[in-house]
Symmetry: C2
Subunit: 423 residues, 2 copies
């Protein structure tokens, strides 16, 4: 224990359970060595950030009556006009009808909403069911909350209904089903696999969950649609939320981070009424409202049409980057590497032959690092469950932040590392 360590009994139970995010050091690496090409970061494309759009919104805002209100304290649920715009947007997208802005909350990115819901519902030992693999940052939040996280396998159409049912049956047998508080699903271009949950699967899942759990009473579903706007191709899929016509059981959350600007930190949630007040109370204690100014900027981007034009542009741009990444992968990687082609989002999930270890202590990671390219080892995205071995042969690469030049160069390097290791 050096002078900077606190005895752990001094910490809250939550702090004792918290650990540093696994990829914090991984994200820091390219900053320390700029020659490293990082395919690891889930950041967004930098050149296409809406600088002009934000500049114009700011200029208009600063010349309007709204300016003082935007620089003053806002309210805990957030700027009403933006909540109303979110409702209209969700209605247009078919999430529901006559959505009330009173059921919507604006948060510091959608991560804060995940945290608020977790804080409102989870006691130590409560169960959260996630896709396996899933979003590793949220696994950190769940770990600190003391949740038991259990995973359900997914394939190219998303989480597998039979596996879900098996899991629920096993929770029922062990008497633990009443402790299942949350089912966390990324339904569009999931992080890390890029898969979306098919419509017939959504219906099956909802039906299965309704059979095993008291949805909206003991168990809530979180539909995280952070990447929904970034669809490059294929037909849109209705929200899972559209099955919850009474706003009882599904928290639908979205974000303007991926589709506009993460630096503004504006996320949103349409929250079941019986959960809404509890989420707001937590938010009142946490920060009593996110940046009002940023909410006004996003509102203006929405009502002026700048937002939707920006999203159109982003779709083309990311599509091009995805295509480039996949082309280079086909070119440089051995043919037995399997890839799910994502129809949107920021990620490509690649599976190497079984037996290859993509982890930080494995050959591949070391070789990749030696030739200065980074990826996220797939094992970070799997749940840790007693008696269940995590697959070790996957990796997540992102075409989000990296430039086209770096995609080309990075994929060549990564392909070389894979070939070296597979030799």
């Amino acid at each position: 224990m050096d002078m900077y360590d606190l005895p752990s009994e001094m910490l809250s139970a939550k702090a004792r359970r918290a650990t540093d995010p696994p990829i914090a050091w991984l994200l820091r690496m390219p900053i320390e060595d700029p020659e490293i090409i990082s395919l690891a970061a889930g950041f967004v494309d930098e050149e296409s950030l809406p600088a002009e759009e934000v500049a114009e919104c700011a200029r208009e805002l600063l010349g309007s009556d709204e300016i003082n209100a935007s620089l003053q304290y806002g309210t805990t649920p957030g700027f009403l006009a933006l909540r109303e715009e979110v409702c209209r947007m969700l209605e247009r997208q078919g999430a529901g009808k006559s959505i009330s802005p009173n059921d919507v909350v604006l948060t510091g990115g959608s991560q804060q909403l995940l945290h608020l819901i977790t804080d409102a519902l989870i006691n130590e030992g409560d169960i959260v069911l996630v896709e396996d693999p899933t979003y590793f940052v949220y696994m950190g939040t769940l770990q600190a909350a003391g949740a038991r996280v259990t995973g359900v396998a997914l394939d190219e159409k998303g989480i597998i209904p039979e596996s879900l049912e098996e899991k629920l049956r096993s929770l029922q047998r062990s008497g633990d089903i009443s402790r299942l508080k949350l089912v966390y699903l990324m339904t569009y271009f999931q992080n890390p696999t890029g898969t979306s949950l098919a419509w017939e699967r959504k219906q099956r899942l909802y039906e299965i969950l309704s059979r095993y759990c008291e949805l909206g009473k003991t168990t809530f579903v979180v539909e995280d649609a952070a990447y929904k706007e970034l669809r490059f191709e294929g037909e849109d899929i209705p929200y899972l939320k559209s099955l919850d016509s009474e706003n009882r059981s599904v928290v639908l959350m979205g974000s303007f981070s991926k589709s506009f600007s993460p630096g503004l930190r504006v996320g949103f949630g349409w929250v079941p009424r019986q959960l809404h007040d509890h989420v707001l109370r937590q938010k009142g204690n946490e920060d009593f409202g996110s940046s009002n100014f940023c909410q006004h900027l996003v509102h203006r981007a929405l009502v002026t049409g700048r937002y939707s034009r920006h999203v159109e542009m982003l779709r083309l741009r990311y599509r091009k980057k995805r295509d480039l990444m996949l082309r280079r992968l086909a070119e440089h990687f051995p043919s037995d590497v399997q890839v799910i082609k994502p129809q949107g989002g920021l990620y490509v999930w690649a599976s190497l032959p079984e037996g290859v270890n993509t982890g930080c202590d494995g050959e591949l990671f070391k070789e990749a690092l030696r030739i200065k390219v980074l990826y996220v080892p797939g094992e970070f995205c799997y749940c840790s469950e007693p008696g269940v071995a995590k697959p070790t042969n996957n990796l997540r690469i992102s075409f989000g932040m990296v430039t086209e030049e770096d995609i080309a160069a990075g994929m060549a390097r990564l392909g070389e590392a894979v070939r070296t290791v597979l030799k």
Copy 2:
């Protein structure tokens, strides 16, 4: 139980303990009835909000290389250049020497930092010592965390050393002193009383605390200096933090909300090293960083000198509003109403003769509401401790948001209500 109530056993222990903030409905009232003059809200002066300054900062930012970085994700501790500026500012103010930006964290207002520290340290039943009266929003956070909150009386020079020592001795006797995790002090123009903690008191307090507690190991002090910049008169007082030269025991927190713009939601903390990582881990789970764009705006306001010019202007402006409020109070209120004249901040604390009940269920509040003026009943600001009766004869009025016209009219109404009740 209506359809929107969740059975409480479904909630986390934290959510079960959380309640709606006592003054939420009080703040909503003037929105619903615009004829009401609210002296209750602790918001800032609206006309003087830095619209021009933010516009210029935004314009410069949007024309610079920095723009893309500001719209991208930031880091969990926040924009490094702003953390460095905060260090320089704190050094100039005498808080410490060679302050490292690695020990500074930027948060969504200082409220978020209060929440993070509480989350990192407090388990149910842990003790937090506060000034009595204190900042009621933080009492809500502490209540949700399950803390036992105990108060120490204050007078015009801040918290009373003898009362503190007595409280510590009593905790020692009951064997509870090891559970004293936090001592929360607002050292400048405290909310609600407007008093500052005198320098000799700071020294005595620090010495007493060092004698009874293992500072920096079992117990931390939070020095909340949110109102420090708003000094109208009198000599500046060194920070309590300046006594903690090794950055071991005192969290110094500040905010750009009161001195610049609350709508940007940028607060900061200089956090003891052994606590810093734990706070960052909580923040990583909560939102992995506050609005990067707002941090860039505040940074630019600081380095261009716009911030300090704005603060100069604010001091004059609030001083004028305070003077007006006190003048009207002397004019309209009975002479046995006692007032602490604040040398800064946003609040006036008035004490009516004992026996008068300023609470929401009392005569005065009802009469005031009838003639459409609002204040914060003092009882909201006192700790609830078993066996200790809260004083009921105080009220907090703020000259922050209200215009000069409304100060004049509001104080006349409030004086009338007081005279009616005292008749």
